[in-house]
Amino acid sequence: MIEARRLAIGYKNNILHESLDFELSCGEVVCLMGLNGAGKSTLIKTLCGFIKPLGGSLKIDGEIGVVLTDKGNAGGLTVYEMVSLGRYKHTGYFGTLRENDHKVIQESLKAVGIEGKADRYMSQISDGERQKAFIAKALAQECPIIILDEPTAFLDVTSRIETMALLRKLAYNQGKAVLISTHDLDNAINFADRLWLLSKERQLVSGAPSSLVENGTVEEFFKLRDAGTL
């Protein structure tokens, strides 16, 4: 679904990476890991189209639904209304929802398991539920690719596991390509099909969690962090 060759990312006077190669296929969960400053957010922003790539090629097959760390100002919307914004491209000039839109919204709410909270205000639900609501919004967009920027950052342990398990289920059941940036190594190893390890020195290293653990790449990656050289 996503294929990058010699992709250069960063900002005009601050190039972070000059040549990244990676691909993301449908039905798989990939966790993007890296230290602060390694360029995770920049990579995510580039893939989402918020900033332009500086060079190389980036092919994206289909649209992307995003879950970001922005808090927004949606506290006065109900969960249902917020998720319905995912239908933006499918509705007419005034954003009036048709029968099919309502169906998609209800299915999305069901898929993340918060259909019971549909009439609550966004400001009344917990952090974990809010994250699920945003995932439901991304589902309502009906995009083949979902990219999430640190979706578990502000969640407690239970909600972290729940969220990761939910994303894995969505990838398998609905064939979505799911890319998650995270700092949470344990859950990344448990739930991802592949890890992308991003660092200044080694660019992007991709592989199955088990093989990256076995051949010592993960250990090296995090040891280097302990030594403070990354």
């Binding site: 917020m82 933006y88 491209k89």
Partner: protein, 335 residues
Amino acid sequence: MNRRKNITLYCAAGAFLLALFLSNIFFGSVKIPLRDILAILSGNFEGRESWRHIVLETRLPQAVTALLAGSSLAVSGLMLQTLFKNPLAGPSILGISDGANLGVAVSMIYFATTSYITTIATAFAGAAVVLALILWFSSKLKNNVMLLIVGIMMGYLASSVISILNFKASSDKVHQYVLWGMGDFGNVSIEKLPYFAIIAIAGLIAAVLLIKPLNALLLGESYASNLGVNIKRSRLMILGCTGLLTATATAFCGPISFIGLAVPHIARLVLGSSNHQQLLPVTLITGSCIALLCNMLTLLPGSNGVLPLSAITPIVCAPVIIYVILNRKNIQYFN
């Protein structure tokens, strides 16, 4: 069930608006019997010509002006609050009204013009300059409180320039400007009314057409652009619409503070939602109601004349803002 609640709300708001509109026509500093007013309105009045003049050429245009100016300012405030993700934004807080004031001052004092087309054009230019500056600052300042303070500073700057202009001007021009500066929905005569109404209604229609992107912008610009909103274009259209509505209301009625800031809050509290599909129409109606109410309150001294409008709007609106700030923890849209 929700729909039924909304219909009840719209009916109540409509009835309230109608009652206020009629009160504005029935009551004034000159007492005219209700029966005669109805006769004047239906065109069968045979009595005093002065009464007909008061009702048809003073009270009626004044009520229509209040109705349109109130909704213009309120809708501007709502759009600014959504765009800047700041519930305390508003045309007067961000200095946009002051920009329009400056434009009017330049045309009244410097060009000594009485043509309202020139006045609107200069008011719009002033508002547009401040809007452009605010937009530029908003890309530099991520902190919303800082942006508000910059807006307040811009307001002061515009006021300083106005004072300097006044200092250099002759006293009769200053007097004219000071009168305008008190704010008055009665400034719009029956001849000017069509021009004011056409521009205001065009601005309000444009605002209604912006409901969809406004809703998406509640999630922040990144989410909105991912949903398919053309951020640059939407932002320009929202600001252009806000500038037009604020500048028109200011040019015709003088600077009217607080309505743009307070009314969107009243509308959200009554409606219990930030969804612009309902919030924008309710803000529009509430803006008209509050403006008509304020216009009524200027008559309080009775037959001894009328109070300046600029003294009334803060009395009605400021308590709303204080209430909202004190209760922000319990108000959904603040969290």
